[in-house]
Amino acid sequence: MHEPSDQSLEAASPPRPSGKPQAQRGKQAQPTPPAREPSARQPSPRHRASIPSLRAQIYKSHIKPVWCPGCGHFGVLAALTKTLAHLELPPERVAVVSGIGCSSRLPAYLAVHGFHGLHGRALPLAAGLKSARPELTVIVAGGDGDGFSIGGNHFLHACRRNQDLTYIVMDNEVYGMTKGQASPTTQPDWCRSKLTPQGTGIRRFQPAAIALAAGASFIARGFAGAPAGLTRLLAAAIEHPGFAFVHVLSPCRTFRPEQQHWKQQVHPCELEPAQDLAQAAALMQRDDGMALGILFRQRIPVYAAGVAPITEQALRQIAAHSGALAEIEAELCR
């Protein structure tokens, strides 16, 4: 688990490029941009409050993303840092937990607490962290394979548990890190992987509908190519008391280049966020998977705000039973 560094706005801008010498691709000579007289005048502190992109910088770590240029995950990273800045969450009060995959690299690129965990196990890790440290804003991030396949069972139970977590799934309908295999959200006839040359033939996982059926209290869908809207959704999700699931359509440039068309296919959700299950179920039936916005939001009791401290009464009960427990232990451990 890495910890946020204590950095000012100025310190958040690393020297660029890095000092490590790197090979020149194509041996291109660099054109020289026009020189301008730099001004010493920087935004005053009160102006900084008016510049989201500047305030977002303090949430970025100095680690350079290895995502492919053109990857949707860059949009999610930008939206998340702007959201944290907008909500004025101190970096030391935020933790981002992930599993494995391209999108699960997210914690490394943020200057908040981070935990890059096991494949599919981001949600139980986050649940443990939130139970032990309820004062933290805990955000879980991952991809469609990590969240809906390897971690599918955790997803269901996190939805119904309604612990105060925000779960961002960057869905590109493919396992990108392992070079492009079909994931739970891949179309059944997608046949560009050697593992599934005829397509999977399996119906797609429907994240929003399944989250609703499993009992999630906040369900939204965003698009990496619509950063302003995504920032708004993330802010609403983090502020929602309970489990907030944000399904982000995040195109994979390398293995699913056809997803570039998502820009033309996404559209705002026609209806207002559903407040009750019947209304939400009707909305889900009409959902084409490309509707953006808050799909469902309901206030229901939040799972234990933390692990309750052991009371005196509980301690007395434990002491009273200690003899019996010792007898059982002695019997079973003979």
Binding site: R25, G26, Q28, P31, P43, I51, G70, G72, A228
Partner: protein, 178 residues
């Protein structure tokens, strides 16, 4: 928390300045991210170019800050800016099809030119639609500055195209079955 309507207009000079500062800092962040990305993929020529653009954006931001002086600027949520495009005009589009780890300096200049043209279009729109004459004048000045940048970038692009007729080969293409 509602987003501005598409026909929302800039109401004041302070609001225009807030938009201009966000535009420049979004531009700086975008070019820094692209420079990082190119460095990671060992495309240092393009990385250096994006790095230079980031520095220029920082300079432009400083110039706007100097213009703002002690003006009180409105605090606008990230989704509340009145852009004509989904994000700040020079903030770039993370899904821009031109972006590639093997992109050339010509393509990088094309990306910058596209962003600068969006910036000019935005300021021209504000110059025509802002509520106050003072804000319209300032927007027109900014549009004129953006036009100068466009002219410079067009010249650089023409020079670069003359120097590099061909796009470099992708030396490490991803393995994607046909």
């Amino acid at each position: 928390m509602s987003a501005p309507s598409p026909d929302a207009v800039i109401e004041s000079v302070a609001e225009l300045l807030a938009h201009a500062l966000e535009l420049e800092y979004a531009s700086k962040a975008h070019y820094e991210q692209l420079a990082d990305s190119m460095n990671v993929h060992h495309n240092t020529a393009v990385a250096d170019l994006f790095c230079s653009f980031a520095t220029l954006s920082a300079d432009h931001a400083a110039a706007v800050a100097a213009r703002a002086g002690d003006t009180d600027l409105p605090r606008i949520p990230p989704w509340g800016f009145k852009w004509l495009c989904p994000d700040a005009p020079e903030g770039g589009d993370c899904l821009d099809p031109a972006l590639s780890y093997g992109m050339s300096t010509v393509q990088a200049l094309e990306v910058a030119l596209h962003n600068e043209r969006r910036s000019r279009a935005y300021y021209a729109h504000c110059a025509a639609s802002a509520a106050l004459p003072e804000a319209r004048r300032l927007a027109a000045d900014m549009a004129a500055e953006a036009a100068e940048h466009i002219a410079l970038l067009e010249q650089m692009l023409a020079d670069e195209r003359r120097r590099h007729r061909d796009t470099p080969d992708d030396l490490d293409p991803p393995h994607v079955p046909a």
